[in-house]
């Protein structure tokens, strides 16, 4: 015997919602529940009972989560043609950009000027 259980996930735990004997109906209902937005995840588990061995095997035949949906939407957006996107703007020059050469020359001028002032003070201060 094969049964399909719909499980819903909320507040950190799975709960059995309902049982079907028809996979198509179970998956359809699981999708309806998912669209309702009350649960963060929904899955359909197939339970197969083997009367000879009296053992039950289970497998997940459908599962959807909000994370899955967001990922799918992201992939769809990434798959769109690049031509649709606006061309990137050229970088605007920053107002206070100074080239390293100009900076070096400015510093050199300041140092030389300072040395010159000290020289003048040492050699000519007594004459005034």
């Amino acid at each position: 015997m094969i049964l399909f259980e719909i499980h819903t996930f909320r507040d950190g735990k799975w709960k059995i919602d309902s049982v079907f004997d028809d996979k198509e109906l179970a998956v359809y209902e699981a999708q309806r529940i998912e669209k309702g937005g009350r649960f963060s995840a929904v899955r359909v588990i197939q339970e197969t009972y083997d009367e000879e061995t009296q053992r039950t095997s289970i497998r997940t035949v459908y599962r959807t989560t909000k994370v899955d949906r967001i990922n799918v939407e992201g992939e769809r957006r990434r798959a769109q043609p690049l031509a649709v996107a606006a061309p990137p703007k050229p970088p605007r020059p920053r107002k206070h950009d100074i080239s390293p050469v100009a900076l070096l020359l400015t510093l050199t001028a300041i140092v030389l000027g300072g040395i010159g002032v000290l020289y003048l003070l040492q050699n000519f201060s007594g004459r005034f």
Partner: protein, 152 residues
């Protein structure tokens, strides 16, 4: 977020399940008194209610007109087994123990041979009704069918 019955959904079992969810809200299951046949007039004739009385076999409380017409006798107040396996009502109520044990809606379909010797395909659903968390006092059922035409 509330659910509403989709008018485009034609399958009785899914529409009845949606109605049951709507009644239940955040509860595990609706109270038997919540069920109002006048709100689901297109489905009500295919529905029935089983009253759960202790550990014994449930008895028919309400039987929709489609089922009543097929039975030919009034089974209200009688045990589930009185319906018999050759009727849609008997098939639809036959798995009540599973619903009582699990406390969740179960829908099953299949086929059987009716009193006239015709093969009937059917789909049914049993939904728990109760008071408080987990104590089932009644079952809401719904079922519809079609006869398998010979030679098709």
């Amino acid at each position: 977020m509330t659910e509403t019955i989709n008018p485009r959904e034609r399958r009785l079992v899914l529409r009845l399940l949606t109605y049951w969810r709507e009644l239940a809200g955040e509860r595990a299951m609706p109270h038997p008194g919540d069920v109002d046949g006048s709100r689901i007039p297109d489905m009500w004739g295919h529905c029935f209610i089983l009253e759960v009385r202790g550990a014994g076999e449930p008895v028919f409380g309400i039987i929709g007109e489609h089922h009543a017409a097929k039975l030919g006798s009034d089974l209200r107040g009688q045990a589930v087994s009185a319906a018999g396996g050759e009727t849609l009502l008997g098939q639809a109520a036959s798995y009540h123990r599973q619903v009582l044990a699990r406390g969740i809606p179960i829908t099953l379909g299949g086929q059987f041979v009716n009193r006239e010797g015709r093969t009937v395909l059917y789909r049914s659903i049993l939904l728990p009704l109760g008071e408080g968390e987990g104590r089932i006092t009644a079952l809401l059922g719904g079922a519809n069918c079609r006869e398998l035409v010979t030679g098709s």
